[in-house]
């Protein structure tokens, strides 16, 4: 990087304080420019696709329970180790049954790895960003709380929640045929290069 030193001034510029006047001109220009402030409680931010907010376990519309199959991938991938799952195997079918599913949201760093790695789209990070509590326990989500989060979120989206899946929920740079069935989401063309999801910004840069 080349450092831009300030240009030399001649005597007239020194006397007239040209730099001070330049600064004053700048502030006068910004006085008439549009402020970037958002009046938050009245004026809400647009939540972008791929926003990572409050955790939720998707409620399966058929069974009414969580979709989780206790594969433990989210527990393994979580960098802050805030997910804890207990399960047992069913005697007859030897399918895994979730006993408890806890997320200590205060430790979560909202990296979104868990929702990327989940093979059945059971765990997601919703668009809800306003949640708080008076005790730490209020932000410690067990399975019921997580399912409840999903219900509230579904309600806020007006029930059309079956289509609430987005390309950020799948691992980047993987062909669709390598993914589990639930992760094969139709991705807009502007997000992909050669069938792989790379993101809109990356594609825009790559094609330049």
């Amino acid at each position: 990087m080349q450092i831009q030193y300030k240009p030399k001034r001649n005597l007239l510029q020194t006397i007239l304080h040209v730099e001070l006047l330049q600064g004053m001109a700048l502030t006068l220009r910004t006085l008439f420019s549009k402020p970037i402030t958002r009046q938050y409680p009245e004026e809400r931010p647009d939540v972008q696709l791929g926003f990572r907010g409050q955790h939720a376990l998707v409620r399966d519309e058929e069974t009414g329970a969580s979709k989780c199959v206790a594969c433990m991938r989210c527990v393994t991938v979580c960098p802050s180790r805030c997910i804890r799952i207990r399960f047992h195997e069913d005697e007859d079918t030897s399918a895994r049954v979730v006993d408890s599913y806890d997320i200590e949201a205060l430790r979560c760093v909202y990296c979104g790895f868990c929702e990327e790695v989940c093979p059945v789209n059971a765990l997601i990070l919703t668009e809800v960003f306003e949640y708080s509590g008076f005790q730490r326990e209020d932000i410690f989500f067990d399975q019921e709380a997580l399912l409840d989060n999903w219900d509230k979120f579904a309600e806020s989206k007006g029930g059309k929640i079956g289509s609430y899946v987005n390309p950020f929920w799948r691992p980047r740079g993987m062909n669709a045929d390598k993914l589990t069935a639930a992760k094969r989401i139709d991705v807009p063309d502007e997000w992909t290069i050669e069938g792989q999801v790379v993101g809109k910004n990356f594609k825009a840069k790559g094609t330049e």
């Binding site: 001070l20 600064g23 004053m24 502030t27 006068l28 910004t30 402020p35 402030t37 009046q39």
Partner: protein, 322 residues
């Protein structure tokens, strides 16, 4: 009867000035906000128009804290000295032809005296609070006032020489109502010195060392709270208005303007004061603070010689031409 009329006039002036002080804080926050691409106060009333009133009510009901180690009498007296001195300066300002509370012949001198008295309040506040921040703030204020009072006074000597009077109404009348008659043009050096000294006298950015927030918490008024703090604040804004008035009277032709405004003779005077106030705020939004030694350098090495040169030049020109 005459006393009653004067009393009513004082009340009206007080009310108008207090309203201006309140809304000067509002416009300062608004303008600086927009210059920093923010919005400024927006919640109280339409676009925050009731904010200064809410601030006033709040500062009335805040707890009045006196530090345990403070010297109580000067601590309590300091804001009152500041405010009354600045208020007293308002009495001699001619807002329009004949619109003046006290038309005294030493008007300009009276304003010098009062604005210096106000800095006694600052110094007393710094000393009496018995805290290191306020002490440093007061110390700086003292040094700043000593060095800038001189150049401030000297810069106006040229104006006095040209008009031949210290009476503020006479100074305005001496400039006439024409555009070229303004003392801004023959006294351009003095105007420059005046502008810089004016910023230093009112403790405004870039010379706000007595209350440098980044170094001294809030300088001399660190330990003040509630109404006493508000009094310092009012004194500062009235000080700005008084300085703006002097600038208007001595350099910009006072109440004279391009055309007469019927029913409201002080229109041009008020208009020019608003421009000055805007420039105060504009500078605050733009400039960083000077270092302490740079402040002293500018005061002693630049402004005082410049104003002396201006006096000599004015004298020579007046001797040969006038």
């Amino acid at each position: 009867m005459h006393v009653l009329i004067v009393f009513i006039e004082i009340l009206v002036l007080f009310a108008v000035v207090m309203l201006h002080v309140a809304y000067a804080t509002y416009f300062e926050r608004k303008i600086i906000g927009h210059m920093q691409v923010r919005l400024g106060p927006m919640q109280q009333g339409w676009h925050g128009l009731l904010q200064p009133i809410a601030d006033g009510i709040k500062s009335f009901f805040k707890e009045d804290i006196v530090p345990a180690q403070a010297d109580v009498l000067p601590f309590r007296a300091a804001p009152i000295i500041c405010l009354t001195a600045m208020m007293a300066a308002l009495a001699v300002l001619p807002f329009a032809s004949g619109w003046v509370l006290a038309d005294i012949n030493i008007g300009l001198l009276f304003i010098f005296a009062m604005s210096s008295l106000a800095s006694y309040g600052v110094i007393l506040a710094g000393w009496a609070t018995n805290s290191k921040y306020t002490f440093l703030g007061g110390l700086r204020s003292m040094a700043q006032v000593v060095s800038y009072e001189i150049s401030f006074g000297l810069s106006l000597v040229g104006v006095m020489m040209l008009s031949g009077s210290l009476n503020l109404s006479k100074i305005v009348e001496a400039q006439g109502s024409s555009f070229g008659g303004m003392y801004l043009f023959p006294q351009i050096i003095a105007f420059f010195v005046f502008c810089v000294a004016m910023l230093a006298e009112t403790n405004r950015v870039p010379f706000d060392l007595p209350e440098a927030e980044t170094e001294l918490v809030s300088g001399y008024c660190t330990e003040y709270s509630g109404m006493r703090y508000a009094m310092f604040f009012m004194a500062e804004y009235i000080g700005m208005m008084v300085m703006a008035s002097i600038g208007t009277i001595c350099f910009l032709g006072g109440w004279n303007g391009p055309f007469e405004v019927a029913f409201f003779p002080p229109f041009w005077f008020v208009f020019k004061i608003y421009i000055f106030m805007f420039v105060f705020i504009w500078i605050r939004a733009t400039m960083p603070r000077y270092r302490y030694d740079q402040l002293m350098d500018i005061g002693w090495k630049l402004l005082i010689p410049l104003s002396l040169v201006n006096i000599v030049l004015t004298g020579i020109v007046k001797a040969f031409v006038g």
